[in-house]
C-alpha cells in the first residue's frame, strides 16, 4: 500500500523524543520533509542530525509552546522552510500532575493551546493549498480513569471534541483532522520507563491489565498516526483511533 508520503511536508511539534520522534522517523523514511521543534536546543539538534540520515530535508529549532508569539513565529518559520505544509502533528503536553490549580493552566497551555495554536498556524496555508492532514494526540486516559482526576486527562479529552468539530468545519477546505489516543507507551527516558524504575508495583499492575502482557512502543503508535496523516487515509476524517494494544476496557461502538 502506497502511503503517498514521498515529498510531503510535515510539521511536528514536540518531536525530539518518544512518540513524536518515532513519527518523525517513520515520516522521514517515507520520504517526507520535516520541520520539528522541542523545548531543548540540544535535543532538537540531536533529532535533526539523526533524522537527516534518511535523505529528506529535516529542519528544527527550539520553541516554547507556552509563548504564543514565539510559537506562532516558529510555525511560520517552519512553513516557510518547508515551503508549505501537508501534515501537522502537535505532541505538546504538560504531562500528568494534580494538586494545585497551576496544573490546569499548564495542561491548558501545552496540551490544549499547544495544539490549537499549531492548527491555527497551518490552516490558512492548508486551505490555500486545498489539502492538508492534521492528527491530534489525545490519550486513553480520556476514555477511562487513570491516575486520578487530572487536568491532563480532562484537557486531552477536549482535543477529541475539538478535533471532530475541526474535521467537520474544514472538510470543505480539503483538510482532514483525526485524533489518535495511545495507551501506555514505554521508551527510554519516557514516563513509563521512570514508573517501571520508581513504582514497580504500579507498573506491574498495568502490565497485568495489558491483554498482550506488555506496554506499547512509540513506533507502534507512530505507524497509526502516520497512516492517518497519509493519503492512504483519505477517507478518514473526524475519526478517533485508539491505539492501545487492547488496554482500555470499554467497547468502542
Amino acid at each position: 500500500m502506497d502511503l503517498g508520503l514521498a515529498g510531503k511536508k510535515a510539521i511536528l511539534v514536540g518531536a525530539a523524543r518518544g512518540i513524536g520522534y518515532a513519527v518523525a522517523e517513520v515520516l522521514a523514511r517515507e520520504g517526507c520533509d520535516i520541520a520539528l521543534t522541542a523545548r531543548s536546543e540540544d535535543s532538537v539538534k540531536d533529532a535533526v542530525a539523526e533524522l537527516s540520515k534518511y535523505g529528506t530535508r529535516v529542519v528544527g529549532k527550539p520553541a516554547n509552546a507556552r509563548q504564543p508569539d514565539e510559537y506562532k513565529a516558529w510555525i511560520e518559520w517552519a512553513i516557510e522552510e518547508l515551503d508549505g505544509v501537508d501534515i501537522l502533528v502537535p505532541f505538546t503536553s504538560a504531562g500528568s500532575g494534580m494538586g494545585t490549580e497551576k496544573y490546569w493552566y499548564n495542561a491548558f497551555e501545552l496540551d490544549l493551546m499547544g495544539a490549537v495554536r499549531a492548527v491555527e498556524g497551518v490552516v490558512p496555508t492548508m486551505t490555500e493549498q486545498g489539502k492538508g492532514s492534521i492528527v491530534l494526540i489525545a490519550t486513553t486516559s480520556v476514555l477511562e480513569a487513570m491516575g486520578g482526576p487530572q487536568p491532563y486527562n480532562a484537557l486531552k479529552a477536549s482535543l477529541v471534541t475539538w478535533g471532530k468539530q475541526l474535521a467537520l468545519f474544514h472538510g470543505k477546505d480539503g483538510i482532514r483532522v483525526n485524533v489518535v489516543s495511545p495507551g501506555p507507551i514505554e521508551f527510554e527516558g519516557g514516563n513509563w520507563d521512570m514508573i517501571k524504575g520508581t513504582m514497580e508495583k504500579f507498573y506491574n499492575a498495568q502490565l497485568r491489565q495489558q491483554p498482550m502482557g506488555r506496554l506499547g512502543r512509540p513506533d507502534e503508535v507512530a505507524k497509526a498516526i502516520v497512516f492517518l496523516a497519509s493519503e492512504a487515509a483519505s477517507w478518514c476524517n473526524g475519526s478517533h483511533l485508539v491505539v492501545d494494544g487492547g488496554y482500555t476496557n470499554r467497547t468502542h461502538f
Binding site: R39, T100, G189, G190, N191, D193, M194, G197, M199
Partner: protein, 455 residues
C-alpha cells in the same frame, strides 16, 4: 602488573549519559563544612577476610580493642534536659547510665550494682532522684556515688572502693552525648577530629526526634556498616533511587578513621535516561522546599540547582537558617561514617543516623538503631518526643529504601560464612569500606601491624 589508580571513569561505567555535576567551589565555603576532595589513601586491592564477620575470636578482639577503647554515641542531649534525666544504653555485654547532673553537666557510669551485679535500670530513658537496685536496695546518687547500703554495718569490709560506681568519660557534642568504656580514652576532640568542622554547621540541636527505632538484625555489625558505606549498591537494590540521586558522581573523602561521601540529590542517575517529567521523589523534594513543581518550567536536570537557589532565598522566611551551609548541602546527602559504628546522612532539614551495635555474644547478630531528626522551623513548637520502638527484622517495615537494605543483609551474612567465600572483593566505588576496615585493623592489630594471614 598495571598499577592501581584509585577512582573511576564515569563514562566507562554502566551509564547512559555522562553528567557534569556542578559543585560548590571549595574557596567559598569559609568556616563551613569542608568540600575539598581529600586525597585518596592507597589501600591496595586485597580481599577483606570474610572471617572477621563471623569469627567469635575476632568478635572478642573487637570487644577488647575497639568497643572498650573508643568513644561511643550514647544518645541525645535533649533527652536529658532536667537534672535526674537519664539515658540507659547497652553496648555489647555492657550497659551504661548517662545522667544529667544538678549542675547541668552529664556523667556516665556502668549500669550495674556493685553488690551482686544486678542491672540498675532497663535500657531506655527516664528521670530518677537516685538509682536504687531492685535486689537489695543499694542506692546510687545521680553522680554514681553510693548513697545508701542497707545494713552497711553487716559488711565487715565496708562499702566498695570510694563508695562509687566507676566514672566513665562522657561528653556532649553537637546535641549528642558520647561516652567511653575506657577511663583512659583519648580526648574526645582528638577522636572526633575533623568532624566538628564538618557537622556543626548543620546545627542538629535545632532538630527534633522524628523516628527512634531499634531493629535486631541477623548480621554482623560490620555487614551493616559496609552496606551504608558505598553507593555501588544503589543500582542493585535501590533501582528507584536512580530517579532521585546521582550514584556515579559521588565524592569520597577519607579522614583518619572517619570518612564520608557526597551524593548529589534531586538528580537523575547517569545510569538512566533523563526523564521529561519530574520524578515523584524529586517532586517531593521540591514540595518540601516550598516550591510548586507545577510552576517549575526548567528542565529536570536543573532542579537540583534550582532547589538550592530556592532554599537559599526562602529559607529564612520559613524559619530555617541555612546560613552556615553551602548550596550543595541544601540538596545533597553528605554521608559520614564516624568510626566505628555511626553512619549518618546529614541534610539541611534532617538527619538520618544509624547506630550499629554488636550483639553481646553472637557475631551473626547486631542492633540497628535508626535515629531520625527533623529541623524545627524557628517559632514552631518543639514536637513531642517520638516513642522508641524495638522489633526484630521483618516484623515491621522501616521504609522502602531501608527495607531494601535490611532484607539483603541476612543473606549476605549467611553467604559470607561459606567455605567458598574467602573475603570481600572490593572495588573503588567501595573505597570507604576498605578504609573502614583499615582503620579497624589499626585498632585490632596496632597501626600498620596487620600481618598477612591475620583476619
Amino acid at each position: 602488573m598495571k598499577r592501581h589508580v584509585m577512582g573511576w571513569d564515569a563514562a566507562a561505567m554502566d551509564v547512559k549519559r555522562v553528567v557534569d555535576v556542578p559543585r560548590v567551589d571549595p574557596e567559598t565555603t569559609g568556616n563551613g563544612t569542608p568540600v575539598e576532595k581529600a586525597p585518596d589513601p592507597e589501600l591496595g586491592t586485597a580481599l577483606i577476610p570474610a572471617e572477621r564477620y563471623y569469627s567469635p575470636e575476632f568478635m572478642k578482639l573487637e570487644w577488647e580493642r575497639v568497643w572498650t577503647k573508643v568513644w561511643l554515641l550514647g544518645g541525645r542531649s535533649d533527652d536529658i534536659r532536667e537534672p535526674g534525666d537519664y539515658i540507659c544504653t547497652d553496648i555489647g555485654k555492657e550497659s551504661v547510665l548517662i545522667v544529667r547532673q544538678v549542675d547541668g553537666s552529664v556523667r556516665c557510669f556502668p549500669n550495674v550494682c556493685l553488690h551482686r551485679g544486678n542491672r540498675l535500670r532497663p535500657e531506655g530513658r527516664g528521670n530518677a532522684e537516685n538509682f536504687k537496685c531492685m535486689y537489695h536496695h543499694w542506692t546510687y546518687g545521680l553522680d554514681g556515688k553510693l548513697e545508701h547500703i542497707p545494713d552497711i554495718c553487716t559488711f565487715f569490709q565496708g562499702g566498695p572502693p570510694g563508695m562509687t560506681a566507676t566514672p566513665l568519660p562522657c561528653v556532649e557534642w553537637n546535641s549528642f552525648v558520647w561516652f567511653s568504656l575506657d577511663p583512659e580514652v583519648e580526648p574526645f576532640d582528638d577522636f572526633i577530629a575533623p568532624m566538628r568542622q564538618h557537622l556543626e554547621p548543620y546545627h542538629p540541636e535545632r532538630m527534633a526526634w522524628k523516628r527512634d527505632i531499634t531493629v535486631e538484625w541477623d548480621c554482623n555489625w560490620k555487614t551493616s556498616v559496609d552496606a551504608f558505606n558505598e553507593t555501588y549498591h544503589v543500582q542493585g537494590i535501590h533501582p528507584q533511587l536512580k530517579w532521585y540521586l546521582d550514584d556515579i558522581n559521588v565524592q569520597i573523602d577519607c579522614y583518619g578513621k572517619h570518612s564520608r561521601y557526597l551524593i548529589p540529590f534531586a538528580a537523575i542517575s547517569p545510569r538512566v535516561a533523563m526523564p521529561s517529567q519530574i520524578p515523584p521523589a524529586i517532586h517531593e523534594i521540591m514540595v518540601n522546599a516550598g516550591m510548586d513543581p507545577a510552576e517549575y518550567e526548567g528542565r529536570v536536570s536543573d532542579i537540583r540547582r534550582d532547589v538550592q537557589l530556592f532554599k537559599r532565598e526562602h529559607g529564612a522566611e520559613q524559619g530555617k537558617d541555612y546560613s552556615e551551609l553551602n548550596d550543595d548541602q541544601l540538596t545533597d546527602d553528605y554521608h559520614y561514617l564516624i568510626f566505628p559504628n555511626i553512619s549518618v546522612n546529614v541534610h539541611a532539614d534532617d538527619i538520618m543516623l544509624f547506630r550499629q551495635r554488636p550483639h553481646a555474644s553472637d557475631p551473626n547478630k547486631m542492633y540497628y538503631d535508626i535515629w531520625m531528626f527533623e529541623l524545627v522551623p524557628e517559632g514552631e513548637e518543639w514536637p513531642e518526643r517520638v516513642r522508641h520502638q524495638r522489633f526484630r527484622h521483618g516484623d515491621k517495615t522501616i521504609g522502602q529504601v531501608l527495607d531494601q537494605d535490611a532484607f539483603n543483609l541476612p543473606t549476605v551474612q549467611q553467604g559470607m560464612q561459606s567455605d567458598h567465600f574467602p573475603g570481600l572483593w572490593i572495588g573503588d566505588q567501595e573505597l570507604r569500606i576498605r578504609h573502614f576496615h583499615s582503620a579497624l585493623d589499626d585498632y585490632i592489630y596496632g597501626p600498620g601491624k596487620k600481618q598477612p594471614g591475620d583476619i
